[in-house]
């Protein structure tokens, strides 16, 4: 009788497990995730203080703990079955059990406190708490994200690329392409001429961002044109870099520019300088160059942050001609206030095409203009349709999860 009562008491004390566990691969997914969902037991938030997720590669186990102490009320969980398929290969099936953790239960004490053992932890949980029956899940990988927004984006990139090649071909066949005058870009060549007359160097700062940033890439393209012009004028060029790899690339670009201009001997690697990867140490170093070497023309083209005004004001005091260009909207007001010319946003990306006067490059600007018209039409139409309650266009531009 006593044994029966104790048994009854124990079984009453054990909180009920969740029900209806399902394991499904998420749609549009790369194949490493499984979505778990379950129905909450009645005593969720009461006797059940939370949930733990256990996973095994075989129905019988051994199970390992993949998520502990998910708070009460949680009924979904996305499990990444392997963090690196190169090390831990992806399997065809995985088995899951969800454990209801009881309020006030004593915590798990590992044999060695310094080395957590997810397998021992899981086995302790299965013996201490109620758990669902094992449910199997099969990861499924898709090759193409077929969400509407992503397909649309892919199509847009394809169209821009196609248009570019098309216009480049037409330009090669001799078609004239109109490009509006951009005074800031015209001033670059004037600035280099002025530096030559004054016998003072041109300072080029390609921003402080990493090489992979598109503004830095654009800046490297411009540097190619600038260094060629500087070499033709036989002036001096100082390039001040904040990122070591940017300096290495800038060095190659300047070398190529001097070579193309027919003055490879005038190129001096000591003029392409790495200052510091610390933002303000770099700013102090570049300010030092402006104060001591007194460049006649300062070109700030790339991605800039808080150093923009400090550099531009120092250049102003030094009476240099200053031309800045950035797509970093926060820094534009500072450059506008302290520089002679400022290239705003997309103008920065047009500089190398404009300076090169290469019809193929200039024609490529036309492709982005077409997409701009498309975006403007979509904006106007989308605003109208959305106001009327139709959300088709919004969906077209909604990316959602990329998987």
């Amino acid at each position: 009788m006593t044994t029966l009562l104790i048994h009854l008491w124990v079984s009453l004390a054990v909180a009920a497990p969740p029900t209806g566990l399902t394991v499904e691969p998420p749609p549009h997914n790369g194949g490493l995730n499984l979505d778990l969902s379950w129905e909450l037991p009645e005593d969720d938030g009461g006797a059940v203080s939370g949930y733990a997720v256990l996973r095994a590669t075989d129905e019988a186990g051994p199970y390992v703990l993949v998520a502990d102490a998910l708070p009460a009320g949680t009924h979904t969980f996305r499990d990444k079955v392997t963090t690196d398929p190169r090390v831990d290969p992806l399997l065809d099936t995985y088995w899951y059990r969800i454990v209801s953790l009881e309020l006030g239960a004593a915590p798990f004490v590992p044999a060695d406190p310094d080395t957590p053992d997810p397998e021992a932890h899981a086995s302790w949980m299965l013996s201490s708490f109620a758990a669902t029956a094992p449910v199997v899940g099969q990861p499924r990988a898709v090759w193409i994200n077929t969400r509407l927004g992503w397909l649309h984006l892919m199509a847009l990139i394809g169209v821009v690329g196609g248009l570019m090649l098309y216009y480049a071909r037409r330009a090669q066949q001799g078609e004239e392409i109109f490009i509006r005058r951009i005074p800031g870009i015209d001033a670059i060549e004037e600035g280099i001429g002025r530096a030559t007359e004054m016998g003072r160097p041109v300072l080029y700062v390609p921003g402080i961002d990493e090489l992979q940033d598109i503004q830095t890439i654009a800046s490297m393209l411009i540097l190619g044109q600038v260094s060629e012009t500087v070499a033709e004028y036989q002036a001096d060029l100082i390039v001040s870099c904040c990122i070591p790899i940017v300096r290495e690339v800038a060095d190659e670009v300047v070398k190529a520019g001097f070579y193309q201009a027919g003055h490879p001997d005038a190129y001096n690697p000591a003029d392409v300088r790495f200052i510091s990867s610390e933002q303000f140490a770099f700013t102090a170093g570049t300010n030092g160059i402006i104060h001591r070497e007194k460049p006649a023309t300062n070109l700030y083209l790339g991605r800039f942050f808080a150093e923009s005004l400090i550099l531009a004001e120092t250049g102003f005091v030094n009476r240099s001609i200053q031309i800045a260009g950035t797509a970093e909207a926060t820094q534009l007001p500072f450059f506008v206030a302290a520089c002679d010319y400022t290239l705003i946003g997309e103008e920065l990306f047009a500089v190398s095409a404009y300076l090169s006067r290469d019809p193929r490059l200039v024609s490529s600007l036309k492709a982005s203009d077409f997409i701009k018209i498309y975006v403007v039409v979509c904006l106007l139409l989308g605003t109208l349709l959305n106001t009327l309650g139709y959300t088709y266009l919004v969906q077209l531009f909604t990316l959602g999860e990329g998987g």
């Binding site: 502990d68 961002d209 990493e210």
Partner: protein, 289 residues
Amino acid sequence: MTLFEVLERFQTMDRRWVFLGMAISIVAPMLFPFNLGFKVDERVQSLYDTIETLPPGSTVLVSADFDPASLPELEPFFRANLEHLFRRDLKVVVLSLWESAPPVVKPLLRRVAERHDKAYGTDYVFLGFKTGKELAIKGIGENIFKTFPEDIEGTKITSLPIMQGFKQAKDFPLLVSVSAGFPGTKEYVLQIQGQYDLTMISACTAVSAPDYIPFYKAGQLRGLSGGMPGSAQYEKLVFPDGPLPGERLLATQAVNVLNLGHLYIIGLIILGNVAWLLTRPRAAAGGSA
């Protein structure tokens, strides 16, 4: 000297006089503090409410991307944020993409955690600094275990109880970006917030705030605290009864410095324009003569 000459000279005065005035307007309120009170902005309120709605026990990812230069603006927020998270019994995983952040972040995190009797590795962890900027952010989106194999103490993070089940950014119910610039909030939004549909809030420097407002308006950021005023407003929400014993509300105090500094610049601009307008006709006449 005639008034005309004075006004002309004023417009072309040596900028060191401008600097001196600025220095006075910054130092004066520090020496003679005064308090005018302020209201809480909707964006900061929304930031606070986002944290309030998380169930206790949830694990929050905090990216502390600031350096000593931006400490005055962001340290008060970071401090109040940790206090807020620990007080609500949330677990905190802190990491940084700025190499100069760990020496600032580590002692602060430890101090606030100790005040709440939180255990390292179970209730909070500091994963330290990772180079790579946007690439590191992509890594955080894909696989934190690989991007930060060890925490700042050199412990393998796979062995930390707090990290169990949190392999990538989207496993966390909230991402807090304390951002002094690049890499920071903008890069998180562009690289992984949209891709993984992350719930994210941000505290940034005043200069970046206008840049991030569109993200807030678009719902990509659930809350935004801009610069020192934002930090002061957040302090007001987290510490409604004033500072904790032995602590100071740094941003609340510093708001007075902002007050006078702004007034000084506004005064300069207005005076400059008045001087320019009064001297313009005669200068133009002189020029054409």
